[in-house]
C-alpha cells in the first residue's frame, strides 16, 4: 500500500541516494549588490571551478540521476562559459532552473535561452515598483529586470518565472506582482527572506511582521499555483499545510555547491559548520553526498527540543535551520519567525555573538546599504 504523507516525510528525512535537486552557485561575481544576498556576492573568487571541472560535476549529476539543478550566484550569466555549462546540463537531461537579475539578458541571449529544452528562467524582482525593488537590489535594477522580461516575452520563451523574496516592504505588493506575472504570461514565485549572507545584517529590519506572515499564509493558501520552492513551511503551523513537503531538506534532499566547489547543506547556510566537503576532493560530489559525516548527522531523526510541547510541531517541524542558526537560536527549537512567537525571546536574548557567514565577497564599494551595522 502506498505509504502515508508523514511516513514519506520520515523517509525523506533519512536522506536519499541522490538529492532531489541541488543549488549550484556558479560564481560569487555579481554586478548588483542586493542587501539581502544569501551568498554575499560581488567579487569573483579566483578559485572558481573551471569549465572542465563544472562539466565534471554535471557528469556526476547525470550518473546520480539528479533531475535538475537550481543555478544561481552571484550573477551566473557573468560567467563567460555560462551557456556551455547550461547547454551541457540540458543536453544530458539535467534540467536547469536558473536565477538571474536579468541584466545580461538581451534579445540575442533571450533567443538562445528560448531555444533550450528543460530550461527555466527566474528573474529576481523584489518589488512591484522601482522604489521598493531598487531599495533592496540597487538603482536601475527594476528597469533592467523588466527589460529582461520584455526580451523573454518577445522571443516567446514561454512562462518564465518572476522570483520575489518577500519582505516587510513588498508584502503589500503581492497582488501587483501577481498582476505583473499575468501581464507577461509568467509564473509568480515567492520565497522566504533568510538572515544569511548579507541578509544577516538586514534581516531584522526586512523580515515580515507577524501580521504580514498571517496575511502571506492566507494569500498563499488561496493561490496554490504561486510557486514557493517549499520555503514557507514554518507558516503551516497557522492551519492547513501549504503546498510542498513541509520539511527542512538541508543535506537530506537538497544541498548547495558553491562557486569554488564547496558543498554546504543548503543555500542558506554558507558557514563552516555546515560545510560537508568539496567536489574537487577524491570521490567528488557523489562521495560528499553519500559519505559526509555532516550529512549523515543531518539525516538522523531530529529532536523537537523546545518545540516538543507545541501542538503544531508536526506542521512546521520547527522551521528553517538556517534562520535559526544565523539568529543565534538553537537548531532544535523554534524558528525566529515562529508564528506563535516562541522563537523571538531567544533571538532577542542571543545578543552580540551571532554566527557570521563564511566569507564576504561584497564589492569593496557597496552601492546599496539599507542599514548600517552595529
Amino acid at each position: 500500500m502506498p505509504a502515508s504523507h508523514s511516513a514519506l516525510r520520515d523517509q525523506l528525512s533519512g536522506g536519499l541516494e541522490s538529492p532531489i535537486c541541488l543549488t549550484w552557485e556558479l560564481t560569487y561575481g555579481c554586478n548588483l549588490a542586493c542587501v539581502h544576498c544569501l551568498s554575499s556576492s560581488g567579487r569573483r573568487d579566483p578559485r572558481e571551478l573551471t569549465t572542465a571541472e563544472a562539466l565534471g560535476v554535471l557528469d556526476e549529476l547525470v550518473a546520480m540521476q539528479v533531475f535538475y539543478v537550481n543555478i544561481g550566484g552571484g550573477e551566473p550569466m557573468l560567467r563567460p562559459d555560462f551557456f556551455d555549462i547550461v547547454s551541457y546540463a540540458v543536453d544530458h537531461r539535467v534540467g536547469v532552473k536558473f536565477s538571474t537579475n536579468g541584466t545580461r539578458i538581451n534579445a540575442a541571449r533571450a533567443e538562445r535561452l528560448a531555444a533550450m529544452d528543460y530550461l527555466d528562467v527566474q528573474i529576481s524582482l523584489d518589488g512591484a515598483t522601482e522604489e521598493i525593488n531598487d531599495a533592496l537590489r540597487g538603482a536601475g535594477s527594476y528597469a533592467s529586470a523588466r527589460r529582461a522580461m520584455d526580451h523573454l516575452a518577445a522571443t516567446g520563451f514561454g512562462p518564465f518565472k518572476i522570483s520575489v523574496v518577500v519582505t516587510r516592504h513588498n508584502v503589500a505588493q503581492l497582488d501587483a506582482l501577481e498582476s505583473l506575472a499575468r501581464h507577461y504570461g509568467a509564473q509568480l514565485r515567492v520565497t522566504r527572506l533568510r538572515p544569511s549572507g548579507r541578509g544577516a545584517d538586514s534581516w531584522a529590519e526586512l523580515h515580515p511582521t507577524d501580521h504580514q506572515q498571517r496575511y502571506l499564509y492566507d494569500w498563499l493558501r488561496e493561490r496554490p499555483q504561486v510557486l514557493t520552492g517549499d520555503s514557507f513551511f514554518h507558516l503551516s503551523a497557522l492551519g492547513e499545510p501549504l503546498e510542498g513537503l513541509n520539511l527542512c531538506g538541508a543535506g537530506r534532499v537538497v544541498c548547495l555547491i558553491d562557486p569554488v566547489g564547496d558543498v554546504y547543506a543548503c543555500p542558506f547556510v554558507i558557514h563552516d559548520e555546515f560545510l560537508a566537503g568539496n567536489v574537487r576532493a577524491p570521490g567528488g560530489f557523489t562521495s560528499v553526498w553519500r559519505g559526509s559525516p555532516l550529512f549523515a548527522s543531518l539525516r538522523e531523526p531530529t529532536s523537537a527540543g523546545a518545540c516538543a510541547s507545541c501542538g503544531s510541531y508536526d506542521a512546521c517541524r520547527g522551521g528553517c535551520m538556517a534562520a535559526k542558526f544565523f539568529t543565534g537560536l538553537p537548531i532544535d527549537g523554534p524558528d525566529p519567525e515562529c508564528v506563535f512567537g516562541h522563537g523571538v525571546p531567544a533571538a532577542a536574548g542571543a545578543g552580540g555573538s551571532l554566527p557570521r557567514p563564511a566569507a564576504d565577497h561584497s564589492s569593496r564599494a557597496v552601492p546599496v546599504r539599507l542599514v548600517s551595522r552595529g
Binding site: 500500500m1 505509504a3 540521476q65 533531475f67 537531461r93 534540467g95 518565472k161 514565485r189 499555483q225 517549499d230
Partner: protein, 97 residues
C-alpha cells in the same frame, strides 16, 4: 520542488486500456519506492511503494493497467494500486498508449 509548469488536462484514466510510463518522465529508485520527474510539466511525484514502481515499469508489457496490476500485486492491494495509477495518470507520470 513544487515548482512545476501550469497543469494541463491529461486523458481520463481507464484501467481497461493500455498505459505506459510517460516518455518525458524519468524514474529514480529510492528506498521508499521511486521519484518520478516529468521534464515537460516539471512536476516531481513520489511513488510510495516498490510494488507501485514495479507496476508502472511493467505497464508497457501488458494489454491493460488492470493486467499489469494483477501481475504485480496481491488481490487485496489491487484496488489501492489502481487508484494510485489514476493519480499518476492525472499528473501525467503515465500515459495512455
Amino acid at each position: 520542488m513544487q515548482d512545476a509548469g501550469p497543469p494541463r488536462a491529461p486523458a481520463p484514466f481507464d484501467p481497461a486500456r493500455p498505459w505506459r510510463l510517460h516518455p518525458q518522465v524519468a524514474l529514480r529508485d529510492e528506498s521508499f519506492g521511486a521519484l518520478a520527474y516529468h521534464y515537460g510539466n516539471r512536476r516531481l511525484v513520489f511513488l510510495r511503494s516498490r510494488a507501485l514502481v514495479e507496476v508502472v515499469r511493467s505497464l508497457e508489457r501488458h494489454a491493460s493497467a488492470h493486467e499489469a496490476v494483477a501481475a504485480c500485486v496481491p488481490d487485496a492491494e489491487r484496488a489501492a494500486h489502481t487508484v494510485a495509477l489514476g493519480r499518476l495518470a492525472a499528473s501525467e507520470v503515465i500515459d495512455a498508449r
